[in-house]
């Protein structure tokens, strides 16, 4: 069912755990559908320097959480906001169709963490980033409808 990469990230998840004084926290998910993801980021000079996660969920949920934390480290907030759920799934060599919703959760957790950081650190870039954030994540809202 799962690719070797997914199994690797599931068996040896990267960046598990909480963070001391995270700059942004994303909390997403719905226990009724089964997955809950918490993403913690550290941001310095607009760059995500560290990312950690905690997840309650299936193999795909844990693997996508692990992969997204790897993908954002070292990226600027702008670059991180461009990471789509499809990119996370591709990085894992694909997910079964029925598990794609887990990659959407990873994208939402990232988006939520960055949003949290922006609301705590408003500056001249915040508006631009927020606008970019809105464009990038419009498809998530459309899907939610």
């Amino acid at each position: 069912m799962y690719s070797a990469k997914v199994m690797d990230h599931f068996h040896n998840p990267r960046n598990v755990g909480e963070m001391d004084n995270p700059d942004g926290i994303g909390h997403v998910g719905n226990p009724v559908c089964g997955d809950i993801m918490e993403l913690y980021i550290k941001v310095k000079d607009n760059v995500i320097t560290d990312a950690r996660f905690k997840t309650f969920g299936c193999g795909a949920a844990i693997a996508t959480s692990s992969m997204v934390t790897e993908m954002v480290k070292g990226k600027t907030l702008e670059e991180a906001l461009k990471i789509s759920n499809k990119a996370v799934a591709e990085a894992l060599d694909g997910l079964p169709a029925i598990k794609m919703h887990c990659s959407v959760l990873a994208e939402e957790a990232l988006s939520s963490a960055i949003d949290d950081y922006l609301s705590k650190n408003p500056d001249k870039n915040t508006d631009t980033l927020r606008k970019l954030h809105k464009i990038q994540h419009k498809h998530l809202e459309e899907e939610a409808e």
Binding site: F10, G34, M37
Partner: protein, 386 residues
């Protein structure tokens, strides 16, 4: 790595004696049982021998056994067959909230055609209250279907009590006994049923064959029309090797069932007791006593079922889960939800079902491995506060 298989409720390996019994019927005694010549008659008598064995296991008459392609077909046949044959009399069917999909989907299909279905609730151990059955019966009720024991949590229903109520009201009673035949006593007269579904691959027989017990005099419409096999009940050239295998499996079950039930109950209870000791924040789903001898279903708080099963698979243990993530519909087990379990606990459920080749060493291994897996996943879980 040798696998520890603990998903016997899903399917069982065919016993070697069963496979051996089947082999001659593929290309030696391969005749069509409807043929006049000896090849055909040879196959025909093999089927009748198997029929007698199946009938004997459930205390039925030979002619009351109709072979099908499995438990699902038997359920469809019973429910739709009674519905269509008796629709002038009434259009109301009573069943429960925790039936197998073969029963509930058949009922949902009939509902689209105008039948009225009542799904009776269950308590938190998964038991149906016979009083609820009585209250639900009305002048239009033509069928009541309650499974003998539930495949997910193992709860055994008070079938004799319920069938008595059905009989007194003049309503046909069907039970899906797929999980009980061959494992605990499932005598049609003790249970008092008119119809009973069975499946070979749940009792060390081959896949693709089962049977419906039809009490003499029961009015129902055939499911399969064609060449008139099975005394007109179910057309189709008979699956001779499958039926022979089924017969052999029931013959073995008749001999071994009681001892095996004792052995499995001991292993089951050890697994339950030790799990409860070794892992905090878990609980048993289903009735502690009115339970199949081989069924262990637990909910582990703060972690999700599929990830536990994947981790167990990597350690060589095969089990299953009622988690939404593991179902095609992305819904948690309807059985656990019907029992009032909250959805998060349903997502953290694990089912271990033991069988013929389960050893005490395997149980000990599982008791060693699962606590480590739970600890690893809890460390990753946002719901677990140490």
């Amino acid at each position: 790595m040798k696998q520890i298989y603990l998903d016997y409720a899903a399917t069982t390996p065919a016993a070697p004696e069963v496979v051996q019994a089947m082999v001659p019927y593929f290309n030696e005694a391969f005749g069509n049982p409807s043929a006049i010549y000896s090849y055909g008659q040879e196959a025909k008598s093999a089927i009748e021998e198997a029929r007698a064995k199946v009938a004997s296991l459930i205390g039925a008459r030979n002619e009351e056994i109709v072979f099908t392609s499995g438990g699902t077909e038997a359920d469809n046949f019973a429910i739709k067959g009674v519905a269509f044959a008796n629709k002038k009399k009434g259009n109301h069917i009573i069943t429960t909230a925790l039936e197998h999909h073969a029963v509930s989907e058949s009922c949902r299909f009939l509902a689209k055609l105008g039948f009225k279905i009542t799904y009776l609730p269950v308590d938190n151990a998964g038991l149906v209250d016979p009083d609820d059955v009585k209250k639900a019966i009305n002048v239009k009720t033509i069928l009541i279907s309650v499974m003998h024991a539930n495949n997910e949590v193992g709860t055994i229903q008070p079938i004799a009590e319920i069938s008595k109520i059905a009989r007194e009201a003049g309503v046909y009673f069907h039970t899906d006994a797929v999980q009980t035949v061959g494992h605990i006593s499932a005598d049609v007269n003790e249970l008092g049923v008119d119809l009973l579904s069975m499946s070979a691959h749940k009792l060390y027989g081959p896949k693709g064959v089962g049977a419906l017990y039809i009490r003499k005099g029961t009015k129902l419409v055939s499911f399969m029309h064609g060449g008139g096999q099975e005394r007109g009940w179910r057309a189709s050239t008979e699956n001779v090797p499958g039926i022979v295998g089924f017969g052999k499996a029931t013959e073995m079950a008749t001999r071994e069932m009681n001892e095996e039930a004792k052995r499995l109950t001991h292993l089951r209870d050890k697994l339950i007791t030790e799990f409860l000791k070794k892992i905090d924040n878990i609980h048993l789903n289903g009735h502690p006593l009115k339970r199949l001898p081989n069924n262990v279903n637990i909910s582990v708080s703060f972690v999700e079922g599929e990830s536990m099963c994947l981790n167990m698979d990597m350690a060589g243990i095969c089990a299953s889960t009622g988690s939404a993530c593991n179902s095609a519909s992305l819904e948690a087990s309807h059985v656990l939800l019907a029992m009032g379990l909250d959805p998060v606990k349903a997502h953290g459920s694990l089912r271990f079902t033991l069988g013929k080749w389960t050893t005490e060493q395997e149980i000990d291994k599982v008791l060693e491995i699962l606590p480590r897996i739970v600890a690893k996943l809890r460390a990753m879980s946002p719901l677990y506060k140490n």
